[in-house]
């Protein structure tokens, strides 16, 4: 066992002066293990939908408050909360769950404006922001504000009203929270000041049966496994380089410096990547 581990991590004559971990067969094994992990996660989403997913503490009132805070920072008037637009935003989120998609247009050809019309909202200008898999409202608003197109919706001075849909459900076998912002200005120019969503009432709805058990985060599993693999490879590359220098061994292999640089960039991306997607 000891000898095998030594061959695995340390370059020596018995492994042709290259740690086994760095040889193509073992790199292929890493890929196979990673693919197996992904297949198991995928199978779980089919066999037990809702077990995997992303928990969230986002509420519509927080989204409304933080959106208006961003507008006030730009000296823009706040967006009035519209219950009609909220109906349309909630209908859009529910449609994404029922048709199982994540986009502005549905597979059946429905576009955002169809939801505005179905809710009975006649608009002169309108817009839509989407988000999923975020844990908290602050990071969600930050993500939207850092995307030029979503930011343009939030700080658009032509919009006077906003509706927010925050719906929990199961999308592609994973439990998640979809957040939809619908912006608009009524065609007749009459802005009705509706009661804003209150933090004292539940502003989050469920679509279909959603278990209250905290789901297992699949991205965290994939990220941890990937990071461990990269750390092992980087560590072995460093040990391999040191021993090769010490023994003055000449070999035909890839560039350790190039490999380490490339893997460090990907590792940094994994470590600093955030949960949540916007569209």
């Amino acid at each position: 066992m000891g000898r095998f581990l030594s061959r695995l991590f340390i370059p020596q004559e018995s492994n042709n002066h290259r740690a086994l971990i760095l040889q193509p067969s073992f790199l292929g094994l890493f890929i196979a293990i990673y693919l197996l992990n992904q297949s198991l996660l995928q199978s779980l989403t089919i066999a037990r939908p809702g077990i995997l997913g992303y928990s969230s503490e986002i509420t519509a009132d927080k989204v409304w408050t933080l959106t208006n805070q961003e507008r006030q920072l730009q000296n823009l008037p706040i967006l009035q909360y519209s219950s009609v637009l909220s109906e349309s935003a909630a209908a859009k989120a529910k449609n994404m769950f029922s048709e199982n998609y994540w986009a502005h247009s549905s597979p059946s050809g429905k576009v955002p404006w169809d939801f505005f019309r179905e809710a009975g909202y006649q608009y002169s200008v309108a817009g839509e922001n989407l988000a999923k898999d975020f844990y908290d409202t602050e990071s969600l608003i930050k993500a939207w504000m850092n995307s030029p197109t979503h930011r343009a919706n939030i700080i658009n001075d032509k919009y006077q009203e906003i509706g927010i849909g925050v719906i929990n459900g199961v999308l592609n076998g994973m439990k998640t929270t979809l957040v939809v912002q619908h912006f608009g200005t009524p065609l007749d120019g009459r802005v009705l000041a509706s009661t804003p969503p209150s933090s004292t009432v539940n502003t989050v709805q469920n679509f279909g049966p959603v278990s209250s058990i905290k789901p297992i985060n699949p991205a965290l599993i994939s990220k941890t496994l990937g990071s461990i693999m990269f750390l092992i490879i980087i560590g072995v590359l460093i040990v391999d380089s040191y021993i090769t220098l010490k023994n003055r061994t000449s070999r035909l292999t890839g560039s350790s410096a190039g490999h380490i640089g490339f893997l460090l960039i990907i590792l940094a991306l994994l470590i600093f990547s955030r949960q949540g997607t916007i569209f």
Binding site: L22, L27, Y34, S222, S241, Y242, L252, A257, G258
Partner: protein, 87 residues
């Protein structure tokens, strides 16, 4: 790490190119830190550049072989798999 530095010293121009590429990619990944769609595209592009650099580097060194290219290809493939699954 000494071998890594020795390797860099031997072919400084190749590693300057790689270093500039990696810095540029890191800056792009930071700019698009809230946009996972763009980050994914940047990683596809990085993997392609990494493979192209490997061909250039080993061709210049005169030791370009299929086994070396497969080593780069497998590392790039592993990186792509992890990024696609995570972002």
């Amino acid at each position: 790490m000494m071998t890594v530095f020795r390797e860099i010293k031997k072919h400084p121009q190749n590693f300057i190119i790689l270093f500039i590429l990696f810095i540029g990619i890191s800056v792009l990944l930071f700019i698009f830190r809230f946009d996972s769609h763009s980050q994914r595209r940047i990683v596809y592009f990085t993997a392609g550049l990494y493979l192209a650099w490997s061909l250039f580097h080993h061709y210049k060194r005169g030791d370009l072989s299929l086994s070396i290219f497969i080593e780069y290809l497998l590392l790039a493939l592993l990186a792509l798999l992890v990024v696609v699954a995570t972002l």
